[in-house]
Subunit: 210 residues, 2 copies
């Protein structure tokens, strides 16, 4: 039996990266096409700064899969497209009965969550606050501050990500926009609720032991 | 379908407790019988302060089990029994192919880990350092500082804990003792290696999908 070696990972909040990581990806502003309500503002922003990295993720994937866990860090820049705060693409887990915990490290954000049947839940992300995203919730992070939002995260290694679920419904049901110096939730006018069949398909991705 | 509600949890480092928790336990010094090498020193310490709470754990268990995760916080007092630093009881997961991530919040500690075949691995626990404990490793925390050691932790909800594995082998293979102002690893003279059959029994607790 070859046991996986234990490992240590320094969460470098200043640089927004998990030490001793095994994976990394970055999203540029130009990768966020179709996410924001104001497409004119988006295209203008891309023209002037499309190569800007709007968020990066570093993580540690274990060698094993089922039963194991992934740990990592996200650093997300502040910004607005029109009056809408910068967001991550957002996803539901491909095996949808998998949860995730996000842990605020610096900056101010929100976790915007939506259940398959269209309930919205919003939790604040602040330093030393954990947000528990239960099984079956679509989730996306929003930077509502003026500084980078840095979070660590923890989730089962066999979760997977389905990024298409949000595109299929025309976005998440709510958007988060600037409201004076704060934020407010507004309806996404492009949103189409999932049909019963679509909801069933999401639930059916849960593994059989659930 | 009733979806579990998302939740937020403030990690209160000062008080060593996870906010909005659903579970708690505490260990007194008198509960730690048989853990330390110097039993005379242990009995004296119990006589003078056996009701002292040496560590406490607060956590959030989700409603669901398989595929879900548990998050929590441990606060552990500093101290010595003879020259041996205060430790937690330690455990392996009852479903042994389940990992755990510990995340240093304050204080100075070590994660002392042992594979079923008797390999020892030691990682430092410091603020903003994550220690990834892979599947199949017995693990115990050691407070090597003079202040409380506070950690948050994250692990699969269907892991379970087997605390007996350490007692059966006469303790973990190594002990952590004071060495001047630092620490050193010394052999545990009461330790008996696991037999091949015992190792097989541990590995057999892994779930079938692994």
């Amino acid at each position: 039996m070859n046991y996986i070696e234990p490992s240590s990972h320094y969460a470098d909040i200043e640089n927004g990266e998990l030490g001793n990581n095994s994976g990394r990806y970055e999203k540029k502003l130009s990768n966020m096409e179709g996410i924001y309500a104001d497409n004119v503002a988006f295209q203008q922003a891309v023209k002037s700064g499309g190569e800007e990295i709007v968020y990066k993720v570093t993580d540690k994937h274990p060698a094993a899969r089922h039963g194991d866990m992934i740990i990592g860090m996200t650093q997300m820049q502040p910004g607005l497209i029109g009056d809408e705060f910068y967001v991550t693409r957002g996803h539901i887990h491909a095996t949808a009965n998998r949860p995730e915990t996000y842990y605020g490290e610096s900056g101010e954000g929100l976790m915007l969550m939506e259940s398959p049947d269209g309930q919205i839940n919003i939790q604040e992300l602040r330093p030393r606050v954990m947000c528990y995203v239960p099984p079956f919730w679509i989730h996306r992070t929003v930077n509502i501050g003026s500084e980078p939002l840095v979070m660590t995260f923890f989730y089962p290694a066999d979760s997977g990500q389905d990024y298409e679920i949000i595109a299929k419904s025309g976005g998440m049901k709510s958007r988060i926009v600037a409201d004076g110096t704060g934020w407010k939730e507004v309806p996404n006018l492009s949103y189409t609720p999932r049909s019963d069949d679509e909801i069933e398909q999401v639930l059916a991705t849960a593994d059989k032991e659930d």
